[in-house]
Symmetry: C2
Subunit: 401 residues, 2 copies
């Protein structure tokens, strides 16, 4: 058994991890409706003007603006209505001075017309339309290409899609887009004691938790999770599992909460690649390993479920999002006073779970072996290594799960 004798400070560890994160270069083409949240890998160009024609922006009458100059409630200008154009139609004729055409919002402007008078500003009697207000040229007209001009960059490579951006692409008639692939994350629970949920437990076994928490968090943060079968605690089994895992962009082992098991992952990493660190000054989550094999980043997370998941939040999420080219995660936060004193004299950066009860932050941490430390919490606070005590009543910023 080789205990950890030296740990890396959290700030140094996250710097090492982020330094190793190479934004993904692989590209995918996906249907526009499935592209929300994805990152464009090339500029999207507008193949046509949007709108593709000058159109009425109001219901009313298409007019020659100059015909309305000087119009007022008590001095209306009277025009002759010569046609009607609905949305989706094409005007059958144009207008000359003194004429107007009834027009619906969105309908193409007739030739000769350069403005629209709102229906509310008119009074009609047969074909005679009295206009009560002047309009200036282009008023209430949505001009061809005003939204997007043909050849214009609608959205640039690197932008993350959201509902409005999906809509802007639809506006150009495009139905699929080129995006960066989502990093594929191999997830591998190790440990002779780990059993697959849904199967009966043998004596001495417990159910796998980490595969479920890791798969879920990876999917939330722009990765594709691929669970590999649970590996037993032997160099041969781990090394064989690694051969499969290295086909993916990121490898995340969990397990080896014991010193002996952790050594196995370390041994395999030393044998086949590089170890960047093993042991971080964080609590929980100290026995965490990070390295690379054949340029593939490999995380060795602690087996304890709370330690594994807290380090997933603290290390894997920032790493994965950088690799996926997503903006840094900014969890929703609330500020709340602590209901009681927290002593944190470990010299480690602490990830401390809390519940929000009546607007206050109540410590929820049980033990790092207990998933309920997190499942029964609403979020967490971070306590820097050099902070020893947070008094009751201290206002803390809670990052919500």
């Amino acid at each position: 058994m080789r205990p950890i004798t030296e740990t890396m400070l959290y700030d140094d560890a996250i710097a090492v991890v982020m330094g190793a994160a190479v934004p993904i270069a692989i590209k995918d083409r996906v249907a526009l409706l499935d592209a929300d949240g994805r990152v464009l890998s090339s500029d999207v160009m507008a193949p046509l003007d949007v709108p593709p024609f000058d159109r009425a922006a109001m219901d009313g009458y298409a007019v020659v603006a100059a015909d309305t100059f000087g119009a007022g409630t008590h001095a209306p200008k009277t025009l002759t209505c010569v046609d009607r154009v609905f949305t989706g139609q094409v005007p059958m004729r144009g207008i000359k001075p003194g004429e107007c055409i009834e027009i619906a919002t969105g309908a193409p402007m007739p030739d000769g017309a350069d403005a629209v008078v709102m229906v509310e500003e008119t009074d009609r009697n047969g074909e005679a339309v009295r206009v009560m207000t002047p309009v200036y040229p282009k008023q209430h007209v949505g001009r061809r290409g005003a939204d997007l001009a043909a050849g214009q960059v609608v959205l640039a490579a690197g932008q993350t899609l959201n509902p409005a951006r999906v809509g802007a692409i639809a506006a150009t008639g495009v139905i699929d887009v080129e995006v960066f692939a989502q990093p594929s994350v191999a997830i591998l629970s190790t440990g002779n004691e780990i059993a697959e949920p849904g199967q009966p437990l043998a004596p001495g076994q417990i159910y796998d938790i980490n595969r479920f928490t890791l798969e879920t968090i990876v999917r939330r943060h722009g990765g594709v999770s691929v669970a590999l079968p649970i590996a037993a605690d032997s160099v041969e089994d781990l090394s064989a599992a690694l051969d499969t895992a290295l086909a993916h962009d990121i490898v995340v082992f969990s397990g080896g909460s014991s010193v002996g098991e952790r050594d196995l992952i370390l041994d395999v990493l030393h044998q086949r690649g590089t170890v960047h660190f093993h042991g971080i000054a964080v609590k929980p989550g100290k026995p965490t390993v990070f390295g690379e094999i054949e340029d593939t980043p490999v995380f060795g997370m602690p087996g304890y479920p709370t330690s594994c998941l807290s380090n997933a939040y603290m290390l894997l999420v920032p790493f994965l999002r950088k690799m996926a080219r997503l903006p840094a995660w900014t969890p929703q936060t609330v500020e709340a006073p602590l209901t009681r004193r927290i002593v944190s004299t470990t010299g480690r950066h602490q990830f401390y779970t809390v519940r929000i009860v009546d607007g206050s932050a109540e410590p929820a941490f049980k033990a790092s072996g207990d998933i309920t430390s997190m499942a029964h919490a609403d979020g967490y606070i971070e306590i820097p290594a050099q902070t020893d005590v947070l008094e009751a009543g201290t206002i803390v910023r809670v990052k919500l799960f």
Copy 2:
């Protein structure tokens, strides 16, 4: 053409909408790995203790605690190591006073042992283990059921799943859960001018945007989106489309940006159900209709893409989340000074898009017909109806898309 002569204040409109939102009662059973973000419809009970046995919480030696009392660096207590138990194994024998068993973190405690001495606090020579520090009974022991006790409620009905909660359910060996169904939202673009992206445009036509923005936002907020074919502007076509749409939990029409088209949706709603409002004092998005047909809520969104999407944020998202039993949406926000003055004298509650540029909020709004008003913005501010002017430099809270 029937212009809107009276509008409802936004606060009143949202109250009407929320009053009509009935939390969904339909239940689904889903695989645990697909349950993240879903809402439990029944309590999840633990069928077994987690952990299912007392286990070592540290690597070291399982001992009789009383044997270590009085131990110190200069006065070690010597015990005889009689066996070794790895994680995933079952101890083959127990211990008597004076004995100890080497034990790995997570391994079941041998009979007779009631504490673990950390390996770092020991010194071994053959079978003689010198213990340098005392341990109290139960020290470094993870007790059976400490995380979850058999029969305990792991998570209660109504809770929304997240990575830690998915993990807590996995811990009990359960692999599927009963959750509330996601409301099914029928989305229906109307308008003779609307063409499906991917198809060529006929003269006078524009591509459908609203179906794409609405489907995307519905999926983000806990709904299942079901797009129906574009419906033409006639009472018959709309009414026929509605027959299909009413099989869903929510119906969202978009289109009818023109007064005439809007009247069609109103006519159909009046004919077949109840109109709660038509016309809201918001900008953009004034010509919005809300009603019910056979207890199914029906939204008639404006056809203009920015108006449609802003009202989706302002009305549909709160409604959908309540129906889906999700907590209210709390968008990420940033505070930033306005780069220039905004005049808002419309007497309407305004949804105003901005870009964040060098830490300042720059107005991004073009026209409600322009999807780029939103696609080229980072978020929006809300300007209450009674606020007429926001001076340059005013600190605004920007809700990010």
